[in-house]
Structure formats: structure tokens, C-alpha cells
């Protein structure tokens, strides 16, 4: 039996150091495809966002190709993220610990994670990334369809298109900022990247960053803290 923080495939392997399986191979493929499409989207989007970056269209075979590919990449990302969402949404639900954690954010930022409350599979900051990405991707796909000239030009007015293109570009900026935080976070906390690359982390990493998750994984039971939504 698994606890509320534990995903399918998570497992502990005794040893020294302890090795903890965090992401199954399909989750990792899902993540990296999504991440890859995000990078391409950002590059192609920025290429059309500002003339100084128009040279980036060269990566896609020129302006027309960039224009043509970008919305398909967006569609791909949307589907990819949907996969991630289905996999991880329940570990990103709000818990009371998140409040305590947030109150001590300054401690976290200073790197003194040992003084932070124990967190489950994801800490509050990660959850913020997850939910904000979810929200922005919905906005992006929505506004993106409105300005997808090739297929959907007929369904909206010019005024709606104008608003859509503004919102689309603004949200894209915010998303890029969030992704910067996401990537920085992964680099900042040493040992994080292996989670997505090899699927596993050391026990010490789990102890330091996601102790509650590790405990649940080790004990095989969830703590009794009530959660925002009914358990599965």
C-alpha cells in the first residue's frame, strides 16, 4: 500500500547511499518531451515576438515554417502537459504544511532546508510552478487557438484576436519566467537533475527535500494529515 505522497513506481532501494526511484521512465519521457516542446515554443514564439530575435526562425526553416510549426508545438505541449497533469496533480494539492512552509520561505531561500517543515513529494514552490503552468497553458492554448490564423480565423472578431495575441504574449513571458525558476531550482538543489534524467535520487536528497514523501515511502503509510481532496 502506498501513501498519499507516493506515486506509482516510487520505491526505495536499500544501500549506501539509499537510492530512491522518483520518476518512472514514461514520466521522464513525458516530462522531457513537454520540456523540449516548451523550449521550441519559447524560441519560435520569441522569434515572432521581437524583431531582434527573428533570426531564431532560422532554427525552424524560416518565418513561414516558424509560424506554421509554433501552434502545432503548442498543441503538442498541451497534450504533453496534460499527461504530466494526470500523473502529478494529486501530489500537488494543498496541505496545511504548505502554509507553514511558505511562512518560512526566507529560510528556504537561504538554503537552510533542514529548518523547514517536512514536505511531501513536492514543496510549495514546486506546487506553485505546477499550478501556474497548468493555468497558463490553458490560457495559452485558448488564446493560441484564437490567433491560429490558418484554421480558426473565421471564428473570432479582430478585437478578440487582438486581446488574445496580447494575453498570449504576456502569458508567454510569465511562463518563461516560471520555467527559469523551475530550471534554476533543479540546478540549485544538487542531485535534483538525476530525478528527471535517471529517474532516481539519493536517500539523502529525499531526506533533505521531501522527507515526508521519503517517510511515506519507507513506512508504506500516509500520515493522517487531512488533504484537500478525497484520497484515491
Amino acid at each position: 500500500m502506498k501513501g498519499g505522497e507516493v506515486a506509482s513506481g516510487d520505491a526505495i532501494h536499500r544501500g549506501d547511499p539509499v537510492i530512491v526511484d522518483r520518476y518512472k521512465v514514461d514520466a521522464r519521457i513525458n516530462h522531457w518531451l513537454t520540456a523540449g516542446s516548451f523550449v521550441l515554443l519559447a524560441l519560435s514564439g520569441l522569434a515572432l515576438f521581437h524583431p531582434s530575435l527573428y533570426f531564431l526562425t532560422g532554427l525552424f526553416g524560416g518565418g513561414s515554417w516558424t509560424r506554421a510549426i509554433h501552434p502545432w508545438l503548442g498543441t503538442f505541449l498541451f497534450i504533453g502537459y496534460l499527461g504530466l497533469f494526470i500523473r502529478f496533480w494529486k501530489y500537488n494539492l494543498w496541505t496545511p504544511t504548505d502554509g507553514t512552509w511558505l511562512a518560512k520561505l526566507h529560510v528556504f531561500l537561504r538554503g537552510h532546508e533542514e529548518d523547514m517543515p517536512e514536505v511531501g513529494r513536492y514543496n510549495f514552490a514546486q506546487k506553485c510552478v505546477f499550478w501556474s503552468m497548468t493555468a497558463f497553458i490553458l490560457v495559452m492554448i485558448g488564446t493560441g487557438l484564437v490567433i491560429w490564423e490558418q484554421y480558426f480565423a473565421a471564428y473570432t472578431t479582430v478585437d478578440q484576436k487582438r486581446l488574445a495575441v496580447l494575453v498570449h504574449s504576456m502569458c508567454a513571458i510569465v511562463m518563461i519566467c516560471i520555467v527559469i525558476v523551475h530550471v534554476y531550482g533543479a540546478l540549485w538543489a544538487r542531485g535534483t537533475l538525476t530525478a528527471m534524467l535517471k529517474g532516481r535520487v539519493t536517500g539523502g536528497w529525499a531526506w533533505r527535500h521531501h522527507r515526508k514523501w521519503l517517510r511515506e515511502l519507507a513506512t508504506g503509510k500516509s500520515d493522517q494529515t487531512p488533504r484537500g481532496t478525497p484520497a484515491e
Binding site: 549506501d16 515572432l48 506554421a68
Partner: protein, 318 residues
Amino acid sequence: MFPPLPNPTTQPVPPKFGDKDLLRRSATSITPPEKRQTEVAKLIDVSKCIGCKACQTACLEWNDLREEVGVNTGVYENPHDLTPASWTLMRYAEYENPQTGNLEWLIRKDGCMHCEDPGCLKACPAPGAIVQYSNGIVDFQKENCIGCGYCVKGCPFNIPRISKVDNKAYKCSLCSDRVAVGQGPACQKACPTQAIVFGTKDEMKKWADKRIADLKSRGFANAGLYDPPGVKGTHVMYVLHHADKPQLYSGLPNNPAISPIVELWKGMTRYAGFAAIGAFAAISVLHRVVAGRSVVSADDERNAKMLADKNMMKEKTP
């Protein structure tokens, strides 16, 4: 009669303007020529227009466009809107003037206005897909167009159309190819009543004054020239009987200007966007420098091992 432009010679002549005369080029910063060419303009005198669609046909023929044969939808407009193959369109509005009790059939030739401050060009992300010559003509350069449709959003008059065939944007070019060799646009050439005249912008304004005086003498107190300041004037202008109510003419905008949304998108958003991205990157770097990395300690590993050992051994000894 406005003096007709002389017929062209049969000898090839060098074009009167070209790349060296660009005032603006989309998604490119250029230095405009020191001396601007005389601004040209097309004047559409709505009060002389009989709605014969000769301009539409001339446009189709000169520009070698092949529009589809459509259907009648209960109105005189055909096609029913501007399309990638119909760069100009007669629009017909039936207006019962409450002041006189008379019916007025307000017929307007719709098409690109060639704004002095072109919203399409401002919105265009593709370098050189839209250019503005120093004589005022705003022209689409098909080979640079990527078909994104931003020009559609930039245009305050809802003019450009994107082709489903080649995904390029199309609109009236003011027959830049004809003007370059001293001719007027094809529509002007075809117009039987001189409802369309072409010349320098100053000439057109002067000609319009005469027409406006005539209209005022016929009881149209609000007759006037449509040369909207919101887009810094246009190089296609209208003489209207009701210049105070352009909206009557099948929705000609009362006060056109590039949408503030587009201005925001093409202005602040760019700077704020780059600033935000830069700021986030900088903060990350700063954080790394100040706070160092978050490193898993040996203690952490030990604690994890203890936890694992304890629990997993328990599991194995039920």
C-alpha cells in the same frame, strides 16, 4: 474634371520609387531617406460613386486575382467581404436620413487606407513583409510574409486577409507597380465618374475642398474629408456627405487608431517582457551567488539510510 493622367509610354521606364525610398520596414529599424517623395493619395468621392464595381473588376484584372463565383445573400455586396483575392469591395448602406426624410444609398469602396501610421506594419513580425514608401504607399512584400495574421490585428480598418492557399497576407497595394511608372491605380483608371481620383496628397485635399463645397451647397452641411488623424492621416481618403458620421458608410470607423491593445502588445509588453525574463534570470544568478547551492549533506544520507533500514527491515520481519 480632374485632369486625367497621361497614358504610359510603350518604352520601359525605371521605377519612380523603390527600396531606397522606404520610410518604414516591418520588424526592421531603417534610416528613412533624407528627402521624402511627394506624398500620393487616392481620393474616393462617395458622393460621385454609383457603385458600379468597375474598380472591383479592374482590381481583379490588373492584379490577376481569381475570386470565386459566390452566391447572392440578399445584398448587392459581392463577394460578401474582402478576401485574399478581392482587395477592394463596394459596400452598400441604405440610410433613411431623419433630417430630410429621404432615403440615401451610401456606397463606399472599401479597401486599404494606406495609413501614415500603419498598424499592420507595426504589428508585423517578419522583416520586410510590410513596407511603407516615402510617398505613403503601404505595400505587402509577399516573399517576406509568413502568414501569421498579425497585420490583421494591427489594422484599424480590418483590411488584410490571409490566403488559405499560400498563407500569405493580401491587401490593396495602391497599385504600387503602376504608380511607380507614373500611372494611377487600376481602380482609379476604371472609375467612370471620377469618384476615384489619384494624385499628390495636397492635390487631393484641394480637389476634395471643391467637392465638399459642392456638397454643402446641396444641403449636406456636414460634408467633409475623411483623413483620420488617429492614424496620422491616410493615403486613401474619402469625401463623405456625412463626415460627422463615418459609421453610416458600412461601418467606416469614426475615429480609427491603432488599437491600444496592439500598442501595448507591440510596445510595453516587449520591454516589460524582456525585463521580466532578464530579472528572473538575474535573480537566479544572484541567489546562487548569495545563497550558494542547496547541497545534500552526509547527515542527510545517513538519516535516510537509517529510515530506510528501520522501516524496510520491519517490513521484512512481519
